[in-house]
């Protein structure tokens, strides 16, 4: 079977697949433009890695259709199956899997045709420079640092000019500073050779920093796809909210709707909040009060802590409580305030020092009504 020459990166990657993975079903679909990053976000075991392995041809779906590099590499209806080594998709694993018996140069050159040739050597040199690996070609993988190993793995994946990049938690085993640096390098690399990229992570920050779009996956299903800020910033469904780590979720009863302000007042045990009106959930302009229970989410970083009640401020929510605990959460701190219910707030180390926050201290938590968002969680509502 002859394989048509693949033009790097000019074609989008797209497809859908239905797979049996272990004891669950994976139903997924994707579309990524060249030079764009689609982040697959979700807990471990959700089916993120399996999606990448399916695209790479390492996992055979029950049915589906996969396109990459401008051609169909799998189609269950048409009986098309292009084996992994002919798909030309760069695949990066979390542990890199650098070949331990080959030096750095040999690893980068591994996928090149005619490895002894001048063209191949040029390609290795070019990639070594791009990823700041010059001078390390004769070292073995265990002789270089974790960040360098990561770059070698990326260089090796890119050397044969893949039609697409599949990155499975590529930065997971690095410290946060190195991650940030490598993210920037990856971005720079994408400008140079714009291939479609699919990246698996369960790190919110990484998803926001790298994703042009985000897809939340759980238990083999896509829960939502869209702009990273929309999906991860104010996630709608409760399941997603928990997955993407919204720190504060409250089950409340609607007490009063104020359509004029676009807000409503909700109460729960020891807590009273002004939140946006629920019409976008019910789809009715005049809610009939059938639905009187909601789950409200507030991101810990959207909350301002103050020593006294910020009277005369525009913020609709001002809760007083005592500090239950202070936990380091690099680069800042996470403070838990007991305002009837526990409220988690993220602040910087500087604020913690300036305010001299200590456990037991009484503080005010201040946040806008629009910082609260309604979490659509049908299950909890029908249960209550």
């Amino acid at each position: 079977m002859t394989v048509p020459e693949v033009e790097t990166g000019v074609s989008p990657a797209s497809g859908w697949a239905h797979c049996q993975v272990g004891n669950f079903d994976l139903n997924t679909e994707w579309h990524v433009e060249p030079g764009q990053v689609l982040v697959l976000f979700g807990p471990s075991g959700a089916g993120k890695s399996s999606t990448l392995r399916t695209i790479a041809g390492l996992l055979r779906p029950l049915e589906g259709h996969i396109e990459a590099g401008g051609r169909v590499v799998y189609d269950s209806a048409g009986g098309i199956w292009v084996p992994t080594h002919q798909r030309r998709l760069g695949y990066l694993t979390q542990q890199y899997h650098l070949f331990p018996h080959l030096k750095v140069g040999g690893n980068i050159a591994f996928g090149l045709q005619d490895r002894g040739s001048e063209t191949a050597r040029d390609r290795v040199r070019e990639l070594s420079q791009l990823f700041r690996l010059d001078g390390l070609e004769d070292r073995y993988p265990w002789e270089i640092s974790g960040g360098q190993q990561q770059r070698v793995a990326l260089a090796r994946a890119l050397a044969p000019r893949p039609a697409m990049l599949l990155l499975d938690e590529p930065f997971a085993s690095l410290d946060s500073e190195l991650r940030r640096a490598l993210r920037e390098e990856l971005r720079a690399m994408l400008v140079q050779s714009p291939v479609p990229v699919m990246l698996v992570t369960h790190d919110r920050e990484e998803a926001l920093a790298l994703g042009d779009s985000v897809q939340v996956i759980d238990e083999g299903r896509i829960l939502s796809t869209g702009d990273p800020l929309d999906v991860l910033g104010q996630p709608g469904q409760g399941r997603i909210a928990r997955l993407v780590g919204v720190e504060n979720l409250f089950d409340l009863t609607i007490q009063e709707r104020n359509p004029r302000d676009g807000t409503m007042t909700c109460v729960g045990p020891g807590i009273r909040l002004e939140v946006p009106l629920d019409s976008h959930i019910t789809g009715e302009t005049e809610p009939k009060g059938v639905q009187d229970r909601v789950t409200v989410g507030i991101r810990a970083s959207d909350i301002i802590l103050a020593r006294d009640e910020l009277s005369g401020s525009s913020a609709r929510n001002r809760l007083e409580g005592s500090v239950v605990s202070i936990e380091p959460r690099p680069p800042g701190y996470s403070v838990i305030l007991d305002c009837g219910q526990h409220l988690r707030c993220h602040i910087t180390g500087a604020s913690l020092e300036e305010m001299g926050i200590q456990t037991g201290q009484r503080l005010w938590a201040v946040f806008k009504a629009s910082s609260c968002f309604l979490v659509d969680e049908p299950r909890s509502r029908s249960a209550s």
Partner: protein, 268 residues
């Protein structure tokens, strides 16, 4: 280190055991060498007809056995390492059988299969193929008893290589065949060499199954261990010469294993 080990009762017992063990293994070896050196015509015996004929036969048969074992055993071991099916588990247990089966029984069993009155012996004879009491039978016996050493070691070697290496190699555009030769085989190399060394040593020392199935014909089926047995009845010179040669061979295998399995790379 030693002082710390000796602080424990088990350490004291262990050290005593170690001394006894070294004496137990070392004394006969030294005795063999001393007695051989005392022989009037040791060199003559080593270069004599009996010794050289047996040596040549042992080398030729064991090399052919090793070729058969490596060529068939390597892909087989790979399959055992990578496949999780119930069938491979059954076969996996079967591989261990020759390890625990007395070689003499293996010889009798092979006679019952390939012998003149065996299960398929008459059929083979009809085709003009006779196996028992030929050089081929020597190779059969060696493959039977020695193959598990190689297959087991190779299987463990393949199992220790995460499949991800092969997956990554394939995503880099390298076919499964080439991946096997460029990734799997080099990474499993030390385990394969170890297995080969153990299997070779076992094949060279094979006695019982050969005696039963191949007989003791000089130049045809009389390998070194059989020649030693025969020589013990007539010429201690020859027996000692052959013994020292086999001992040297064993030590060389050990040394070669140590050298060949030293990797220049580490870790995974």
């Amino acid at each position: 280190m030693t002082a710390r080990v000796l602080a424990y009762p088990a350490g004291v017992l262990g050290s005593g055991g170690a001394v006894l063990y070294v004496l137990f293994i070392g004394l006969p070896v030294v005795a063999l060498l001393v007695r051989a050196a005392q022989q009037t015509d040791f060199i003559g015996a080593v270069t004599g007809d009996v010794a050289l004929t047996a040596l040549r036969l042992s080398l030729i048969t064991s090399i052919i056995s090793m070729a058969v074992i490596v060529l068939l055993g390597t892909p087989f071991a790979y399959l055992l390492a990578r496949s999780g099916s119930a069938w491979t588990r059954v076969v996996d247990n079967l591989v261990e059988l020759p390890l625990v089966l007395p070689p003499v029984v293996a010889g009798v069993a092979m006679l019952m299969a390939f012998g003149r009155n065996g299960l398929i012996g008459p059929g083979l004879e009809g085709l003009g193929i006779a196996i028992p009491f030929t050089t081929t039978a020597v190779i059969f016996a060696q493959v039977f008893v020695a193959s598990p050493f190689f297959i087991r070691s190779a299987k463990l070697g393949f199992q220790s290589i995460p499949k991800d290496y092969e997956d990554v190699a394939r995503t880099l555009g390298v076919s499964p065949w080439r991946t096997f030769f460029r990734i799997t085989l080099p990474l499993a190399g030390p385990a394969l060499v170890t297995g080969l060394g153990l299997a070779w040593a076992r094949a060279l020392s094979e006695f019982g199954a050969t005696m039963m199935f191949a007989g003791n014909l000089t130049g045809e089926t009389q390998t070194m261990p059989l020649a030693i047995m025969t020589a013990m009845e007539s010429s201690l010179d020859n027996a000692l010469a052959l013994s020292v040669m086999l001992l040297t061979g064993s030590i060389l295998v050990l040394a070669a294993l140590g050298l060949l399995t030293r990797r220049k790379w580490q870790g995974r």
